[in-house]
């Protein structure tokens, strides 16, 4: 379980998160949603241990203030919105570096090579191992980075408990096929016992894949719970400041339909 209690974060004079509570269970895909500037990424960064904060954050019951980087790295992997790479590594080298800093690094070379291939297959990039990272498109790079993160926390559960996948807008640079592919990969990680916390902009993908949604606005939690409770016409329209309709598909899944703001003002 990942929990935050009374979490506050400020950048200079600005209070980005105000005294919020947050919880995510292993075995679930937990999505953090909200408009630009609502504090989504800040919350995820705080959970990663990147920021100084007031309050308490616990990872599998342990206060993260007391955890060393290698201890955190053994329990959670982080996919940032964007990762720049300063030297000409190949895709295979990038993915393998995901394993290299771990205290419990697999020693067997053939085993590591196999895991790199498996991770690349998992993000639908088989045959990319020999390519240079800097020659890839934005979406391909993002998936290579996801493969690197997967290598770091390959088994969703081990003797010390669940592992966690922290994703910051994981699908923002991907085409729709790979958006679904990456979300299915995350859902599968959760189904096998791991935890997934994802910052998402796409409300339809959120409705499809999230088990839990936390809706942020202005640095506070507006609503938290299952998608069918949180994602209502009123809550979404108020939070995002535009008219949104939530519908139910025959399969009982939700979908979100945006309405033109101009049409809205013309008819009302």
């Amino acid at each position: 379980m990942v929990e935050a209690e009374n979490l506050s974060i400020r950048y200079g004079p600005h209070l980005i998160l105000r005294d919020i509570d947050f919880a995510a269970e292993a075995g679930c895909v937990s999505v953090i949603a909200g408009p630009n500037g609502s504090g989504k990424t800040t919350l995820l960064k705080a959970l990663c241990g990147d920021l100084s904060y007031a309050g308490t954050i616990r990872l599998n019951g342990r206060n993260i203030r007391g955890l060393k980087p290698y201890q955190m790295a053994a329990r959670r992997g982080v996919l940032a919105q964007e990762t720049t790479l300063s030297f000409p590594f190949t895709v295979a080298e990038v993915v393998r570096i995901g394993m290299s800093a771990l205290a419990a690094r697999p020693d067997d070379r053939a085993f590591r090579d196999r895991r790199v291939s498996e991770a690349l297959a998992a993000v639908d990039l088989p045959g990319f191992a020999g390519r240079f990272y800097q020659e890839l498109s934005g979406g391909e790079r993002q998936r290579v980075q996801l493969a690197r993160v997967l290598c770091q926390i390959w088994e969703p559960v081990d003797e010390d408990g669940p592992r966690w996948l922290f994703l910051d807008e994981p699908v923002s640079s991907l085409d729709i096929r790979h958006q679904i592919g990456v979300m299915e990969l995350a859902a599968d990680y959760a189904r096998r016992g791991g935890g997934v916390i994802a910052v998402m902009h796409d409300l339809n993908l959120t409705a499809m894949f999230a088990d839990q949604v936390t809706l942020l606005s202005g640095g506070t939690v507006v609503a938290a719970g299952t998608p069918d409770r949180v994602m209502t016409d009123a809550a979404l329209s108020t939070t995002f400041g535009c008219r949104l309709r939530v519908g139910v598909r025959p399969s009982n899944d939700l979908f979100v339909l945006p309405h033109s703001m101009m049409a809205h003002s013309a008819t009302s």
Binding site: L85, T90, I97, S100, A101, Q152
Partner: protein, 366 residues
């Protein structure tokens, strides 16, 4: 272009288990470089204005030859003049190349080099300070450090400038290349000004010492000098071995490196220490020798890739080879005089640096 050639070679010349894995090729390169270094050292012992039966003298030295018929003067030339010079050249070359590679890893930029961003100037300031003030203001320090006073002062000067530079160039966990280069220029100019001030107050004997030292030559190599820099160069090379994984992760940015489990502050501090120690030691014994730290890691990245586990040891080996060859050129090109070796490395290095800059135009973001 070169990258594509390297890529094609990676795919054909040494087929690795996993495509895109250049580690087998890198290990092979390490073996080749080690052999090359031994051959280059042998060559450097043999080359010079004076012909001597080098092999027999070395064997006699090692107790493998009875030494009959060997002239004492040959022995002195090889064992007391050329051998320390060759060992010193190898150590300095290794130190310069490794400090460049570590600095490029720390700043995440292939153009960072201690010579360009003022670290060498800081080290020189430390060295000149001990030459000028060692008898007066800094006398307690000079007594404390004894024979190591000069290299240690250069190390401290390099440490101070690296630390200041990194603090200025890094804000909010981001290292700005533009700030680094500009701050490096300012720091270097300040160190140069302070050095000038010290030269201004120096007496004639000290001036002679300073000008001999600052020529950038291995000509003054003695066993004492070799021994005096070993306690600084060896820890620097050892520290760089510890740094490899951290620098690999740091290529993804500071936040990502921490997410992968790297103890960022320790890695940074160790890197700063290694850069300062290696630069300080090299500057202390050989004055200003430029561009080795840029050329050597850059060529190696094209050949074996940027994985620091191989790049750092390979840089040490190729740096040693490069400097020994440059020293051979400087000793033989205008006989019987010697061209300062700094001229040779700069003549090769400066155009090379410009070539990297031009090739990267449009990618470099100042």
């Amino acid at each position: 272009m070169l990258q594509r050639i390297a890529q094609r070679q990676a795919a054909t010349a040494y087929p690795p288990a996993l495509q895109g894995d250049r580690s087998a090729r890198a290990r092979f390169a390490l073996v080749v470089l080690a052999v090359t270094l031994v051959l280059t050292m042998a060559l450097a012992l043999q080359v010079g204005a004076f012909d001597a039966p080098t092999l027999r003298i070395l064997m006699a030295w090692a107790g493998l030859d009875d030494g009959q018929g060997l002239a004492a003067v040959d022995r002195i030339v090889i064992l007391s003049i050329r051998l320390p010079r060759v060992i010193m050249g190898a150590m300095v070359g290794a130190a310069l190349a490794v400090s460049g590679a570590v600095m490029q890893g720390l700043f995440r930029n292939p153009l960072a080099d201690p010579g360009i961003v003022g670290v060498s100037a800081g080290a020189s300031l430390g060295a000149v300070a001990i030459i000028v003030l060692g008898g007066t203001v800094l006398a307690p320090y000079a007594e404390l450090t004894g024979a190591n006073a000069l290299p240690f002062a250069a190390f401290l000067g390099g440490l101070a400038s690296t630390y200041i530079l990194y603090s200025i160039a890094t804000r909010e966990r981001r290292t700005s290349v533009a700030t680094m280069l500009l701050a490096g220029i300012a720091l270097g100019a300040f160190a140069l000004a302070m050095t000038g001030l010290l030269i201004f107050v120096a007496d004639d004997l000290q001036l002679r010492q300073i000008s001999f030292w600052s020529l950038g030559s291995l000509a003054g190599a003695t066993w004492e000098k070799v021994v005096s820099v070993i306690p600084i160069i060896l820890p620097a090379l050892a520290a760089s071995a510890y740094l490899a994984r951290g620098l690999n992760a740091l290529a993804f940015g500071e936040a990502a490196a921490v997410h992968m489990g790297i103890p960022l502050q320790t890695v940074k501090n160790t890197a700063i220490f290694a850069i300062a120690a290696a630069t300080g030691a090299a500057v202390a014994v050989s004055g200003g020798i430029g561009f080795v730290g840029i050329i050597v890691p850059h060529v190696l990245r094209l050949l074996i890739g940027p994985d620091h586990r191989y790049l750092l040891p390979a840089s040490a080996l190729l740096g040693a080879v490069f400097l020994l060859l440059a020293d051979c050129v400087s000793r033989t090109i205008v006989p019987p005089a010697e061209l300062p070796i700094g001229i040779v490395t700069a003549a090769i290095g400066a155009p090379f640096f410009l070539w990297i800059l031009l090739r990267r135009r449009g990618i470099i973001d100042l």
